[in-house]
Amino acid sequence: MEIPVLYYLYLSIIIFTIGLVGIFLNRKNLIVLLMSIELILLSANINFVSFSYFYQNIIGQIFVFFTLSVSAAEAAVGLAIIVIFFRKKDSIHVDDINVLKG
């Protein structure tokens, strides 16, 4: 039995929403923010792969390879910046990012 492409889109929309909500409602930990960003990128990947399968067009799957490597690079840089912040502030609590305001 074949699963219609629409179901994959529902899945990707749900994951995308979880990611967005995770960023906007999260008031605790910076790592959770990183995870939410990864979820958003993954939901886009699901879209690309399912469209690629639907159209029988390989470009979408090639796109996913690039997106995966980009998101890995992004996570590496993000973790490094969080480490720098942690060294100065001894905390990665979202509420502690409060020096700059005005």
Binding site: I23, L41, I59
Partner: protein, 486 residues
């Protein structure tokens, strides 16, 4: 075939090779001042070489690398501007970073690599190359924002920039995936054809609209316009000043050039949809940028808000939807970049004599005229120019955008633009008043190196004498155009 592609890509290849070379050089040689100096020379030289390679090797209107990238005359114009701006940034950063004792080979590596990202972004003609260029640029910028690792402000601005930037590129990527799903194409020209076809068949546009709005909001994050502006003031304040100068000019020019291209190639038949979005965004960012900047005391924060205002102003030129609008944006961006870079060079030359800190508070500039009339005078000229007073350069930028807006009967937008320009003139003039008429509160030490003096003088001469050769520049700009269909 491959050789031809390499020739067309030569400006980026030079930068990539030199940046990797700099990284290796930094690893294998000790961090003494001589090797840093060599690295500085190499990076300036590579930027100049890449500028020359654009002039001599790259012929316009050619696609390369399997139609991933294209060089039309519009693209080449922006590439040249970006490279000139980056040269200025590298020159003014050198002394500043040495003074703060945070100079490392990585700085030059990151600046060069993010410039490559911007160049790829501008010349892209496929959503894949566009996404990769954008990410290359922004990942380097996250690191640059957090570059001053011993300063809590800098690392905090890095975190904020990273979270907002990664979120925006995630949203953008989701939008791209929807566009791919709707049109079954990744090439800009094929997307354009596909949308044209669906417009003729009167299909359901809900999905395309969602994707389009997501992509636009991702791009709006990058150029920091209301309602996606909230990261800009914090990030600009926290990062080291010379890097703030980079943020306010080069990536914004790149993202705006791409936005123009994106709205005019794949979505050229979709004018009615993006008109409304840009209209609202433009009005709100002009009003917000000019009003909130009034009671800012930090010069970097103030320039952040003023750049929000300028970006709103520039969106008018896109909204017009004609070639004249785009030409006026090109003129405005050149003027904006030169004035802002000159202004940042002035700011970077001021220090507090007692504690050796760089001045960022506007109140501390008081009585600068008694200390150093050259810097005070250049502040005045550049601020007058950005505020848009008639004989100076900034006026012509605003004038041509307003002319094109009035020609297209966008009266409300023009009125808002003029009123907000008056409001923003207030806070530029306030800085001039503090510099010229207030009593000095603390001792300012001014040290301008020969290079930064030269940059300031060039930007002043440009601002004052633009009135004489504005027609020549317009002629140059008129010879560039976007290749809207193949």
């Amino acid at each position: 075939m491959l050789l031809n592609d390499i020739k067309l890509f030569s400006s980026e290849i030079i930068l990539i090779i030199c940046s990797v070379f700099i990284l290796m050089y930094g690893i294998f040689f000790k961090d003494n001042s001589q090797s840093i100096k060599n690295i500085f020379y190499i990076s300036v030289l590579s930027l100049i070489l890449s500028f020359y390679s654009i002039i001599y090797f790259v012929n316009p209107e050619m696609s390369f690398f399997n139609n991933l990238l294209i060089n039309d005359t519009f693209t080449l114009f922006f590439k040249k501007i970006v490279l000139i701006g980056t040269i200025v940034i590298v020159l003014i950063s050198y002394n500043y970073l040495i003074d703060l004792e945070i100079i490392k080979p990585e700085f030059f590596f990151l600046i060069l690599l993010s410039t490559v990202g911007i160049l790829i972004l501008i010349s892209s003609r496929n959503i894949l190359s566009m996404y990769l260029g954008l990410e290359l640029q922004s990942i380097c910028l996250y690191i640059l924002a957090a570059y001053k690792t011993n300063d809590i402000k800098s690392s905090e601005s890095g975190i904020k920039y990273f979270i907002i930037g990664a979120l925006s590129s995630g949203i953008l990527l989701y939008g791209l995936s929807i566009i791919y799903g709707f049109t079954n194409a990744t090439d800009f020209y094929e997307i354009s054809e596909s949308i044209k076809l669906s417009l003729q068949n009167d299909e359901n546009f809900l999905i395309l609209n969602i994707g389009f709005v997501l992509i636009l909001s991702g791009l709006f994050f990058k150029i920091a316009v209301v309602p996606f502006h909230m990261w800009a003031p914090d990030v600009y304040e926290g990062s080291p000043t010379s890097i703030t100068a980079f943020f306010t000019t080069i990536p914004k020019i790149g993202a705006l050039a791409f936005l123009i291209k994106f709205l005019n190639i794949p979505f050229e038949n979709y004018y009615s949809a993006w008109f409304q979005i840009l209209y609202v965004v433009s009005i709100f960012s002009m009003i917000y940028g000019s009003i909130v900047a009034i009671n800012q005391s930090n010069i970097k924060r103030l320039l952040a808000y003023s750049s929000i205002n300028h970006m709103g102003f520039l969106l008018i030129g896109i909204l017009v939807g004609t070639q004249t609008g785009i030409k006026s944006i090109q003129l405005y961006l050149v003027i904006y970049m030169i004035s802002v870079l000159g202004l940042f060079t002035c700011v970077l030359s001021l220090k507090n004599k007692s504690n050796e800190l760089y001045l960022e508070n506007i109140g501390d500039f008081s009585g600068l005229i008694k200390k150093n009339s050259f810097v005070a005078f250049s502040f005045a000229v550049l601020l007058f120019s950005i505020a848009g007073l008639p004989p100076l350069a900034g006026f012509f930028g605003k004038l041509y955008i307003l002319i094109s807006a009035i020609e297209s009967k966008l009266y409300i937008l023009s009125i808002v633009a003029i009123l907000t320009s008056i409001v923003s003139a207030f806070y530029y003039l306030r800085i001039i008043k503090i510099i010229f008429f207030d009593e000095p509160v603390n001792d300012i030490s001014v040290n301008t190196s020969i290079v930064s003096k030269l940059i300031i003088i060039i930007s002043i001469i440009f601002s004052i004498t633009l009135i004489l050769f504005v027609s020549d520049i317009l002629e140059l700009i008129n010879s560039t155009s976007i290749l809207t269909n193949l």
